[in-house]
Structure formats: C-alpha cells, structure tokens
Amino acid sequence: MADPLLEIEDLRVEFDTRDGVATVIDGLDISLYSGEILGIVGESGCGKTMTALSIMRLVPVPPGRIAKGTICLQGEDLLQVSEKRMREVRGNAISMIFQEPMTSLNPVFSVGDQIVETILLHEGCSKHEAWRRAVEMLDAVGIAVPEVRAHEYPHQMSGGMRQRVMIAMALACEPRLLIADEPTTALDVTVQAQIFDLLKDLQDKTGAAIVLITHDMGAISEMAQRVVVMYAGRKVEEGPVDEILTNPRHPYTSGLIGCVPHLNADLSGERLPLTEIPGVVPPLTKLGQGCPFAPRCVKALEKCRLEMPPQSVVGEGHRVSCWLIENNGP
C-alpha cells in the first residue's frame, strides 16, 4: 500500500483539571490513506473530538497539552511546525466541518463572504475570482440559485442548507483531508441522508480523505470503509466496517452496536430488551492501571482491572485490545 496521507503515532493529550491530570487521549495510533473514509466512533467523552482537534492543532493550551506523539501529514509532523505554517495548513490541506452549523457560521457576514474569506486567505487570487469560486462551490453542494443565495445570511437558511454552506467552505480550497465532526446530528433524518450522499459524491470527485466522527453505527456503516472504536481516549478496536459490524470482538464495540434499536429487516412481534452497557464513561482523571472499560464490562476478568491489554491482530486489518482475545486466541 502507498504511504498513508495522515499518520498519528502514540499520541497522548493531557488536560490539567482540578482533580489532577486527565489523559484524554493515550497511545493513539491511526493511519489514513488518500481517498478513504475512516470512521471514529464512541460515546461522548471518548476522545473523538479531541483527536480531531489534535490533528488541527486546536487543543486549547492551557489547560490542555499534547504530551507525546507525532501527527504526520504526508511526512510533515504537524506537532513540530510553526503556528504560521499551521495556519496555512488549516482550511487548506485539512478542513473541518462541525456539528452545529448555526454556531460555526458567522451571523453578520453573508455566506458568500465567508467562503471568499477562506479562498482569499489561502490562494493568491482576486476578490472577483474568489467570489466566482464561492458561487461555484455553493452550486457543487446542491444549493439552488447559488448566485442569489451567496448574498444571504446564515439565519435565512435552514439547518440543512447551513451545513451545505459549511461543506462548501471546507472544500473550497480542495483539502486533502476533511474532518467531519458529527456533521448531521442536528439535522432531520431525510436531510441527514442528503448530506451524507453529498459528502460521498464530493469525495468521489475530489479524492479527499475523510475522517467521520460520529456515535452512530448506522452512519459508519453507510459511509466509512474502516472504523476506529474509541473508549476513554484509547483505541479499543479497529478494522474494516463490515467486519466490525458482523464480527465485533471487543465487548464495548458489540455493546455500541447492540444498545441502539436499529431498524430491523425481519420484524417480529417479540421485542427483547436492548443490550445495556451499564454505567457511564469514567472520569478520565480516575482511570486505573487496567483496561478502562473493565468497570463496565460484563465479561471482565481479574486481569482486566490490573493490566492494560495489548493490541492483538484478529484478522486482515482488524485489531483489538482486549484480554479476552489474548486469552482465547483470535
């Protein structure tokens, strides 16, 4: 395989809190190839968004700090470069779309102006040319009469339209990597489906790699080729999507799939209780030595509480960190 576009190695992010140091990401390795959609899934507080912010180098310092590790974009370690260089990278090589399109657009500028701003910042073109490109981008994301719409303000648009504007802005400089942090959570189902279709289409056209952050296994299944499951800042399982969905090996992954009432193809009168993952994500300042999931795991062994499980390979590109696999073989 070719060299990865993005390679995260042994990343560790810490936050100082009143209760001590919280390790929000620990020992994270992720590699991402051009043209790929990688899903990152987990509950809130599992470090999904922190991973995205680390890639963009937007972790608030202080109280946060990137304590260890490398994040290489095509061989360039983003954690070492200057802030000036980083500003060139953001919005250009790497873009991000956020969960809430209302709060991430500026209410006092027209959407056209906001896209133009991004283009002018990164490319040495005239204002007129930038406006033309902005209208072109709005057209590409499926906004009708883009010449007129470009003059409108965010409050004049629906949630779905705003998210389209965000996507247009993110893709304006043809980034090689797009990070989508829960891009559809605030939208209606039918609009959500439209946005996902749009992202897929645009990705086919531009060949950008996408990191899709979500808590919805359904979205992962529809969009991604590979998935990383995170829990309490650690990667617990990683593999091809269909493999993970049909044959999850980590108890947390199976919990995440089983705890959501999915639409059922063969429906019967009988309804079994949903699988529950008892308890909540523990405070990250209070993690012990062992597997962070052990206190909530129904299958936990004595060993799980004492020692962090190593990563084991259980299939083609399918890796799990769990003592149960280690003990019973792949």
Binding site: E43, S44, S158, G160, M161, D188, V189, T190, V191, Q192, A193, Q194, F196, D197, H215, D216, M217, G218, A219, I220, S221, E222, D242, L245, T246, G255, L256, I257, G258, C259, V260, P261, H262, L263, N264, A265, L267, S268, G269, R271, P273, L274, T275, E276, I277, P278, V280
Partner: protein, 335 residues
C-alpha cells in the same frame, strides 16, 4: 368510545397566529396541527413520528393542555380535556404527565432530587407526608436510583440518571397517560438503551400508557405498538408496528425509512431506497393539495389539486395518499 381507549383526539387543530407585518397584509397562521384524529389504547405505546415542524410535539403539548387549542376534542378516560379551565384543569393534570427531552434543563438545579420527585404529590395533595416520603423512596428504587441519592442536586447526576429522575417525577402522581417527548434523543447512545429498557419495564409493571414522540424510527420501531406518521400537521399514515415497518404505504413513510442509516448490511444495500430532495416546506404558506406533493417523487396532477383523505386500507392501517390503490399497492412498489 370503546372501553379500551384511554385517550381519543378528534379533529384537533392548533394554529399559531403570526404577527402582522403591516396593516395591509392579512393575518396568517402556522398550521402546526391541522385536523388529526387519534385513539390511544390503554396499556399500549402510541408513537408519533415525523421530522421537525411536523407537529408531533405540538400534538403532545395540546394533549397536555400546554398550548391553546384552536378546535377539536380531546378525551382522556371519560373527561373532556379541551374544555377544562382553572382549578379543574389543574386537578386533571395529575392524570397526565410528561417526560421531557432534555434532562438538563427540565430539572430545577436548586432543588434536591427527592424534592423534585415529591413536588407533584405536594401540589396534587396526594397522601400524607409520610406516604409521600415512602413513595419517593419507592420510585427511586423503581427507576434504578439509590434512595440515599434523594439528597443530591441535579448537577451531581449523569444525563441518564437525570432522565431517571424525570421518569420518577412523571410517575409520582400515578398518571393515566405519560407523554414521552423525545425522551432519549438528548442522551448518549449507550445510555439510551438503559432508559428505553426502563420505560418498557415500568410499563409492564404498572400498565402505563405512553404517547411517545420521536424522530428516530429505530427507537419508534422498538418502543411503539401503534404509530402515526406526521407531515406538516397532518397524519399521513397510521398503522400498527408490524404493518407500518413491513409494508409502509405512504411515499413519505417509505422515504423516512429509506433515510435511516442502517447498521444492518442487508437493509443498507437495498436498491429500492428513495431520497427526498430539499427541506420540508414552510408551515405558514402551505401548498394546496397533498402537503407532501412538492417533495414526493411520484406526485401526479391530482396530488397538487386535492387533499387526500386518510382512508383505511387494511384493518388498522390507514394512509392519506391518492396514489395508494384500494388493495394497498403503494406507488413505490409499482415501478
């Protein structure tokens, strides 16, 4: 009314007037709920599903008498709710309680959890103080909290636990009807299952009747016995759980089901899914005819001209669409 029916809604309309922009413009309305009929059976869960702006929450609020009703009749048991006023209405509220969507904003941050659950009983004068204490402890146990947690404040609980407090508060007055307005959509995925399982266990134990509002079809399929699909203030399809999901008739229902992101590879790779274009139209200037016609991939001339009535196709399965044939073949099956 049959004796199994707990709540019946007849031709309910809720219109919200919009402020006039100038003297010359006519007064206009948001047609939030525009003539719906529902019957909810005792001990069952009735689901209302739809996108934002479809009127599902307004329907629930109208049942709770929390929004002014434009016209229509709402009957709970043998009591006409829509006519009640003042003290009578306040008394009737003990029979209907709500579980709200957001467990963060629906609990008073300055009141201890035990007092929050106890308050409805104080207001309704239920039992003597000793009985109320006992009932609060009992409810805490029933919803999976420890009785000593009564002394804590809401911020000391996690989101799932707060929703459990909300459930306990709703059950405190032993209501006949519990309205669940998106009870799990603000919760983390892994916590949703805990609350849904709890709601079903409590229903079994106390024979509760739920009016369940949700936009999540997976949750609705799991929870509800009977379901109404709403679009822009109208019910477009109504059926029991099995027939609605196995044989959706209305193109809108079909589109909603198609739009759900499925983790089941068999459903995901179906070829007959349809995608809707655009957003739901503005509920102020409603198009004449079928309200879905502007987004419907099958719409014909008649759809724009005439409003389709809700008509029964099979027993217990009604649909409002001109294009569904009388023997129940929907347009999406005729391609």
């Amino acid at each position: 009314m049959s004796k199994d029916t707990l709540l019946s809604i007849e031709n309910l309309k809720v219109y919200f007037p919009i402020k006039k922009r100038s003297l010359s413009t006519a007064k206009s309305f948001v047609y939030a709920v525009d003539g719906i009929d529902l019957k909810i059976t005792k001990g069952k869960t009735f689901g209302i599903v739809g996108e934002s702006g479809s009127g599902k929450t307004t329907t629930a609020l109208a049942v709770m008498r929390l929004v002014p009703i434009t016209s229509g009749a709402i009957t709970l048991g043998d009591q006409r709710l829509d006519r009640l006023q003042g003290e009578e209405l306040r008394r009737a509220r003990r029979h209907m309680q709500v579980i709200f969507q957001d467990p963060y904003s629906s609990l008073n941050p300055r009141v201890r959890a035990g007092a929050i659950v106890r308050e409805p009983m104080n207001l309704m004068n239920i039992g003597d103080p000793g009985e109320r204490d006992a009932r609060v402890s009992d409810l805490f146990k029933k919803v999976g909290l420890r009785p000593e947690q009564q002394a804590l404040f809401p911020h000391q609980f996690s989101g799932g636990q707060r929703q459990r407090i909300g459930v306990a508060r709703a059950l405190a007055t032993q209501p006949k009807l519990v309205v669940c307005d998106e009870p799990v959509s603000a919760l983390d995925v892994a916590i949703q299952a805990q609350i849904l399982n709890l709601l079903r266990a409590l229903q079994e134990e106390f024979g509760l009747t739920y009016l369940f509002i949700s936009h999540d079809l997976g949750v609705v399929q799991y929870m509800c016995d009977e379901i109404a699909v709403m679009y822009l203030g109208k019910v477009v399809e109504q059926a029991d759980r099995i027939s609605l999901f196995k044989e959706p008739l209305h193109p809108y229902t079909w589109a909603l089901l198609s739009a759900v992101l499925s983790a089941d590879p068999a459903l995901r790779d179906r070829s007959d899914r349809i995608r809707l274009q655009g957003d739901p139209p503005n509920p102020i200037d409603l198009p004449p005819g079928c309200r879905f016609a502007s987004r419907c991939p099958f719409s014909e001339a008649i759809c724009v001209a005439e409003t389709p009535p809700l008509r029964a196709i099979h027993k217990g399965h009604a649909v409002a669409c001109h294009l569904v044939s009388d023997d129940g073949v929907p347009p999406q099956r005729r391609r």
